[in-house]
Symmetry: C2
Subunit: 277 residues, 2 copies
């Protein structure tokens, strides 16, 4: 496995590969890798000639007051995980942007609700960094976890709108044995908080079960969910159309239930598919 | 010369060429081609394996009240000019954007002044369409005229910021024998208006001569320019840094003089380099 820090060197290497028809798989990350990330790599590894993972804690996607400075880091552990996953190139830039960077890529509509409403500028930061990473890495396919469900929808939209020749793959969310969705931020949780945090997935599973049992009324489903959430603050709990992310009144077709909540200072997100029988 | 309308077919063809290491030159236009456009093609033709010209009157870069609906069109004449210039592929999409298009590429700073201040949203439209065209056409090099000097600076910035692997070439402005900068919009001018329009280049040449003669004071240079402009409305007349586009006080280093003015209902632009000896 090669480790590179220089964006231009990464691009030069990528363009050479593309000019000889190699396929490039790409997993962009913010590091502190866990088995959720590993599952993304495992998904792409058999589908590409050359597998690139990037690690960059992107300041543009953090809002004021968020955990940019404390975001957990473990470059040695990350390199070991990547090496074990058969990654060819680990791209770890110190700085990613050009001096005087002035460009923003934004997606309207899909970013209005959910995390977009609570984290102003967050998705502009995501789409801007992903655009630049795609420019540097020149992937033919890239994978994003369904854990960040809204992010995946936004990136799909951007990729289509800007005609980026990258196949976007959504990868299933990975949970710990207690149901908690894997996240680098779980590291912040104390033992007691971890028990509270489990109520996110438990709530979503309860909603899923209610839908399977025939409950179609979103208002009732969300009320049920709110009573079962054992958190310090609910950021949102919503049931939306899986493509447009618009709120639904009745689950009479496939839908997505999403939650964001604070346990202590830690903001956690989770989501599940709702499939009426 | 092939003529294609389908964006996806154009991209498919481009990706195949890139995968066998062909270079692709690209001249994006809004059609109604004249010898200014031809000069862009002549500049790129010897430098690429495959030359693509696009013709698309991009609604996103027109502001309310501008001449979108009346923008002159001549598809047959355009095809003839392209064919004569050795163009390989003429890309003439009927619609360019995806249904539900929601993505915008924007550049801050460089777009604040000059045309950016007078045409809100114009440069967002330009950078968004150029991004998408780059995605479809997959050029290795693309050429833009210095006639749209601010546009060229904005596109250079976007290309660098988003790490698009495209070499951007700026091509010298082309003038008619009477000094008028070539523009598809010159077609709107009556014989009398055309004489008025000549005062744009005459003004810029007068400023250029004054700088060459030792005048360094921007205020004085602009006052001189304003008296020589014979137009119905001056939109702006400015002397700016050629890279940052920030206004300058003294021309003690290379600078750019730019003018935008209305002759009748027609908005014309022009610019020249200022080089203190």
């Amino acid at each position: 496995m090669h480790i590179m820090a220089d964006p231009h060197a990464v691009q030069l290497d990528a363009l050479k590969r593309r000019a000889r028809a190699e396929s490039i798989g790409f997993v962009p990350t913010m590091g502190f890798l866990h088995s959720g990330h590993r599952s993304l790599m495992d998904l792409v590894r058999p589908r590409c000639d050359h597998l690139v993972v990037s690690i960059y804690v992107n300041p543009l996607q953090f809002c004021p007051g968020e955990d940019l400075d404390e975001y957990p880091r473990d470059p040695e552990g990350d390199a070991e995980l990547c090496s074990g996953a058969g990654v060819d190139l680990l791209f770890m830039p110190e700085t990613l942007y050009e001096p005087g960077h002035a460009s923003t890529v934004s997606v309207s509509g899909l970013t209005d609700g959910l995390c977009g409403a609570r984290r102003p500028g967050h998705f502009d930061g995501v789409t801007t960094v992903v655009s630049r990473l795609f420019g540097l890495v020149q992937p033919t396919l890239a994978v994003f976890g369904e854990k960040d469900y809204q992010q995946l929808a936004v990136i799909r939209r951007m990729t289509r709108d800007l005609a980026l020749p990258v196949e976007i793959i959504g990868a299933p969310l990975v949970r710990d044995t207690d149901g908690l969705a894997l996240s680098s931020r779980n590291k912040y949780l104390s033992a007691d908080q971890r028990i509270q945090a489990q109520s996110l997935s438990q709530t979503l599973f309860a909603i899923q079960a209610a839908v399977a049992a025939g409950n179609r009324d979103v208002r009732a489903l969300l009320a049920l969910g709110r009573t079962s959430l054992n958190v310090d603050r609910i950021d949102y709990l919503e049931i939306v159309d899986p493509d447009s992310l618009q709120p639904m009144d009745r689950v009479d077709r496939p839908a997505r239930a999403l939650v964001a909540a604070f346990v202590g200072q830690t903001r956690l997100i989770d989501n599940v598919a709702l499939c009426p029988a």
